[in-house]
Amino acid sequence: MFSDSDWQAIGLTLRLASVVTVLLLLIGTPLAWWLARSRAWWKGPLNAIVALPLVLPPTVLGFYLLVAMGPQGFVGELTQALGLGLLPFTFWGLVVASVLYSMPFVVQPLQNSFAALGERPLEVAATLRAGPWDRFFSVVVPLARPGFITASILGFAHTVGEFGVVLMIGGNIPGATQVVSVQIYDHVEALDYANAHRLSLAMVVFAFVVLVALYSFNRRGRGVFSVGAAP
């Protein structure tokens, strides 16, 4: 049903979205925690910076990433000085760009669910002599679980659907930067509508199945938790 290059693009897209989602949770969780609880004056500006990728058109963001990551850009100079070479046209370049681009979709649901927790559960845990890390993993993470699931879904889905940024810094290299969205675009531009329809349909069906699974898991999860937490 699919050509080899289509399969390669599918595999690459799943790998990219998985790596990006894990990184986003690792970076986004402490960031969202801080944003939800801090009273520092620069909380507002930092919040705005995290949300900025929502405003910029993806191709525009991609263009400036291309410039910044290029040999004359400040990021490019840094990566070259570190012996990493240049990021554009590489898998890890896409990872960095996608993390930036999808950050608001992970930080905002987490931040909201952290803020909704309030102080009370943490204070109670502290009186039971739970340390800060214990409080976070035994109290915050289970209570904010819907937030984590929403954040993961949005981060993953947004990376799968990402197009403009990849188009600008990818260079369409099979197995490294040629993801499904770009592959569909290529088929459309080449007037190969049959293959575009096939690949789009597969993408939509896949996304639907994953989302249904996650949402029902989320509902069941909450049920189990509320039963367990009742006593």
Partner: protein, 257 residues
């Protein structure tokens, strides 16, 4: 009586039409945006007609026309899309012609990188070679034909980076992310000569001519502005403008279409 008066009025309008200023919406391939803006100014001044220009990739414009976009004329970046529209019955019969021929350049933003023999390409002394996607862009197809003619496809393939179109390919090279790349002469030329970085004008015998075709769409077949524009694109005035922007005239190539 009333009916007769209306007939007269209609007839008068029909005679007046060619003299009156009309309006046409023209879909233009992005690579031709800069010369078209200039051409439109000349055209409007000379004829009094008004043009509305819509820029986009030829593939997207094709899909839009197939789905009812209100364009009167389509200036494509290739021959394939106008031909496909012809086959789909969207085009005024026999209106298709080559309005410009693109020229390919091996170019670098570094003024000392590409010499007149393109030594850099043969020696392999580069990191990344940018070209437009050969499947999508005529300039990419020409770049692939050039590399094939020079027998360099296999040795360079691992270092290719492909732009979706020639504008993006130019961005890869101008930002230095690719140190060399095949771009359009129109992107790096002022008054027909390479005016920034360093480049090698690829000899025209190394690839098929990059013909860009125009069609009068069925929607525009009675539009005086659209018909006048099709004529204007063949005038010496229009060709002089295109040449300044780095395009060759179709007559410089043998008609092998």
């Amino acid at each position: 009586m009333f009916k007769r008066v209306r007939w007269w009025w209609l007839a008068a309008c029909a005679f007046a039409l060619p003299l009156q200023a009309a309006e046409a919406t023209v879909a233009v391939a992005s690579n031709f945006a800069a010369p078209m803006a200039e051409l439109a100014k000349h055209f409007e001044r000379e004829t009094g007609h008004r043009l509305t220009l819509a820029f986009g990739s030829s593939g997207k414009i094709f899909a839009q026309i197939q789905n009812g976009a209100p364009y009167a004329v389509f200036l494509s970046a290739d021959q394939a899309k106008p031909r496909a529209l012809e086959a789909a019955g969207r085009v005024t019969p026999r209106s298709r012609f080559t309005y410009a021929v693109g020229r390919l350049v091996l170019w670098s933003a570094d003024p000392a990188r590409v010499d007149s023999d393109a030594t850099v390409l043969r020696s392999g002394a580069f990191r990344k070679l940018a070209l437009a996607n050969p499947r999508l862009a005529p300039y990419g197809e020409a770049a692939l034909q050039t590399l094939t003619a020079l027998d360099l496809v296999e040795t360079t393939r691992a270092r290719w980076v492909q732009g979706e179109n020639i504008a993006q390919t130019y961005q890869f090279v101008s930002t230095g992310n690719a140190d060399i790349g095949f771009v359009a002469l129109s992107q790096v030329a002022t008054d027909g000569v390479i005016s920034s970085g360093s480049g090698w004008l690829v000899p025209a015998n190394l690839h098929e001519p990059i013909r860009q075709d125009a069609v009068l769409l069925r929607r525009g077949r009675f539009n005086p502005a659209a018909i006048a524009l099709m004529d204007y694109l063949r005038t010496d005035d229009a060709r002089a403008v295109m040449q300044r922007f780095g395009y060759s005239n179709p007559e410089d190539y043998s008609p092998g279409d």
